[in-house]
């Protein structure tokens, strides 16, 4: 090998290595957009973003498996003993895609001959799903008033968020209507009318029940 050939080979390798160094310099700059790109493509997120999904190990796959996933939501209705209402869902069961808003209706009828104010208390089973069941409109947000014999259709708009742990594919939403004005009409508790307002009376007579209601409603909202 002559000296010139050797020198040519040396310069060629040196240039290749120099080009490699230059490429790595610009690779450093390229990483700035690349990091965002890689995270978007692979669905990698920060630990803060995935925190709700990590409540269970199965929840890891929750975000990625959201496409094509359907969650069954069943509706259950109850009325408390002292309340003479009939309360039933118009649909018993719906299948919803995560993050898709769904509207369902319930029918409620006052069977008594008095005007009654009552409020529905929701509960989600299994309880782990509670945080992922989001209501944008619900009759349970307000008290409902029904005149004697009146029938009403009550709307509920909700969605199940995509973060729902992967192990859960069905959940049940249960409503219980609780009477708020047990003394206003006198039919169920005769002879105890008076100057006190309905709310005061409720507190006076059944403070424990009332607190329990408030705890539940505030927890679910």
């Amino acid at each position: 090998m002559s000296a010139t050939v050797a020198r040519g080979r040396r310069s060629r390798i040196a240039l290749w290595l120099g080009a490699m160094a230059a490429a790595m310099f610009f690779f450093g700059f390229a990483l700035s957009p690349l990091y965002t790109l890689i995270c978007n493509v692979t669905g990698m997120r920060t630990s803060a973003a995935e925190a709700p999904a990590t409540r269970t190990a199965a929840g890891q796959a929750g975000g990625a498996a959201a496409v094509g996933r359907l969650v069954t939501v069943r509706f259950d209705t109850n009325v408390s003993r002292e309340l003479a209402w009939e309360f039933k869902p118009l649909v018993r069961k719906v299948e919803v895609a995560p993050d898709r808003m769904t509207e369902v209706r319930f029918e409620v009828k006052n069977l008594s001959n008095e005007t009654i104010v009552a409020r529905a208390v929701p509960a989600v089973t299994p309880w782990e799903a509670t945080g992922y069941f989001v209501k944008s409109e619900c009759f349970c947000f307000r008290e409902q008033t029904l005149k004697p014999g009146e029938t009403a259709q009550l709307p509920l708009r909700f969605k199940v968020t995509a973060g729902l742990p992967a192990g859960i594919d069905a959940l049940t939403l249960s409503y219980t209507f609780m009477r708020r004005d047990v003394h206003s009409g006198g039919a169920t508790t005769p002879g105890r009318g008076g100057s006190a307002t309905a709310d005061d009376a409720a507190v006076a007579v059944e403070p424990r029940a009332r607190n329990w209601i408030e705890t539940l409603t505030s927890a679910s909202s």
Binding site: A6, I13, A14, L17, A21, G28, F29, L31, T46, S47
Partner: protein, 532 residues
């Protein structure tokens, strides 16, 4: 003069000997440049060591005694930068310059003038680093660099102009090591003696070949990162500024994309040295040469892919941190292979314990210990607790001092007779060795306990409950520091005279470099030796 000669000369054509300062400033001789690298790194070692002494003096007792917190943080920053870029890397490069051409039977490095350039860039970088320290002392100079060597934004965007000098320092040092690496790769690939195949190369050459490739891949990424920092500081960009749509975490990724392979850049040359020394003093050939080469390549390859284990606490997704954890733990496989190969080399060997061998054995013990705390830190739940504590400080000093610095000491004593032609003072060298052992372990072993007890790193003051271990640590540091007076004395004494060294220096040395006289002639192997 010599530039003119070299311009129309060819490989064997630079026979002239410039004298006086020209010999050094314009040198294209691998031995002279190697010497300059080694002297430069020794000066930097003493400077960085002096900073460490100041740090330990301040930490001798709780409270702020000697310096302002800003200056303390500046010392911590510059101690790291000087030791990494000023002491360890140039020393390894100096040994590469001295030994590689002699080991592969080449007359000189492949690109001698590039060699000169990379050395003087290094000196320029070192001076720039000193400027960055001095600038805050001038009125209007702003705050000193108090970010630690990692230079994380947003703090590094806010500090004064000394940060700009530091950024240019990194640029200069980066250019220097990239040029040196190109030179080393070209030399190894191109200038081997006839018959020396890649798998017949001395293991030190392999170690440096892989190191050089790592450097070419990572140094530009760091240069890019600090350039972005410079843009953010002065040109209104927002690479790392969250208010402008950037992300400071990106800098961490870029820095550790450089920073983690950098650990192997520091480690591999020393592993190469140890793997050269152990066969000599065990009087047996290196056990598992091919697996040694393979594990070094594996170490470099995996090492490029696990950088984010330095940033477990930034809030990466569980999948990402799990990947980085498993990758990091995998590194223990090639490293373990190297350690076992070296132990197997010693197995049933006729061992003698000259100073280089003492250092080599101590490296195996201490570096393995540092590796074990590394596994602890690789595990996410553990790391989140140890993060930024003195446990980390203890870990990386146990990894880097045995893994890099002690290897360079070993190499110094091993090759000093070859370089100078004189045997060093074995008794004094052993004094140095034992002072280093006592000092080093006394300094850093208690820091494990301090870290586990919750003492944070990079802090000028600490809770009084940490006093005793910090005092022990400081006393150890002063012993470690004092040992270097012995080190310098031994080197100077060896250069000035001593028992004549033979060509082979040690009993069982193998390789082309030992066929040359000690000291070797200015130009060695003008006609290439043939290997069968």
């Amino acid at each position: 003069m010599s530039v003119l000669t070299a311009a129309h000369g060819h490989d064997a054509g630079h026979d002239d000997h410039p004298t006086g300062w020209r010999r050094w400033l314009l040198s294209t001789n691998h031995k002279d440049i190697g010497t300059m690298y080694l002297v430069f790194s020794l000066i930097m070692l003493l400077l960085g060591g002096a900073f460490a002494m100041l740090i330990r003096a301040e930490l001798f007792q709780p409270g702020i005694q000697l310096m302002s917190p800003d200056f303390f943080n500046n010392l911590v920053t510059n101690h790291a930068l000087i030791m990494v870029f000023g002491a360890v890397m140039p020393a390894a490069a100096g040994m590469a310059n001295w030994m590689l051409p002699m080991m592969i039977g080449a007359p000189d490095m492949a690109l001698p003038r590039l060699n000169n350039m990379s050395f003087w860039f290094l000196v320029a970088g070192g001076l720039m680093l000193v400027v960055s320290m001095v600038v805050p002392l001038i009125p209007g100079g702003g705050t000193p660099v108090n970010t630690g060597w990692t230079m994380y934004p947003p703090l590094s965007v806010q500090v004064g102009m000394s940060m700009d000098f530091l950024i240019f320092t990194v640029h200069l040092l980066g250019i220097s090591s990239i040029l040196a690496s190109i030179n080393i790769i070209v030399t190894i690939l191109n200038c081997r003696a006839p018959g020396m195949t890649m798998m017949k190369m001395p293991i030190f050459c392999w170690a440096w070949l892989i190191t050089a490739f790592l450097l070419i891949l990572i140094m530009p990424a760091l240069a890019g990162a600090v350039t972005m920092l410079l843009f953010d500081r002065h040109m209104g960009t927002s690479f790392f500024n969250a208010a402008g749509g950037g992300d400071p975490v990106l800098f961490q990724h870029l820095f550790w994309f450089f920073g983690h392979p950098e650990v192997y850049v520091l480690l591999l040359p020393s592993i190469g040295i140890v793997a050269t020394i152990v066969p000599t003093f065990a009087r047996k050939p290196l056990f598992g040469y091919a697996s040694m080469v393979g594990s070094m390549i594996g170490l470099g390859a995996i090492g490029m892919l696990v950088w984010a284990h330095h940033q477990y606490t930034i809030g990466m997704s569980l999948g990402a941190v799990t990947y980085f954890m498993i990758g990091t733990i995998l590194i223990s496989i090639p490293v373990g292979l190297m350690v076992f190969n070296l132990i197997a080399t010693m197995w049933r060997g006729a061992m003698t314990f000259e100073t280089p061998m003492l250092f080599a054995i101590s490296i195996l013990v201490l570096f393995t210990f540092g590796g074990c705390t590394g596994i602890m830190l690789a595990v996410i739940p553990g790391d989140i607790q140890y993060h930024d504590s003195y446990f980390v400080v203890a870990h990386f000093h146990y990894a880097l001092i045995p893994g890099a610095l002690l290897g360079l000491y070993a190499g110094t004593f091993y090759w000093l007779p070859k370089w100078t032609g004189h045997m060093y003072d074995e008794k004094l060298a052993k004094v140095f060795f034992w002072m280093v052992m006592v000092g080093f372990n006394l300094t850093f072993f208690p820091q494990h306990f301090l870290g586990l007890a919750g003492m944070p790193r990079r802090i000028v003051d600490y809770s009084p409950i940490f006093t005793e271990f910090n005092m022990l640590s400081s006393i150890g540091a002063f012993i470690f520091g004092a040992a270097h007076f012995v080190f310098v004395y031994v080197i100077v004494k060896t250069i000035r005279g001593g028992r004549k060294a033979t060509n082979r220096v040690w009993d069982n040395t193998e390789g082309l470099e030992w066929t040359l006289p000690s000291p070797p002639p200015f130009h060695s192997f003008s006609t290439p030796p043939v290997i069968d």
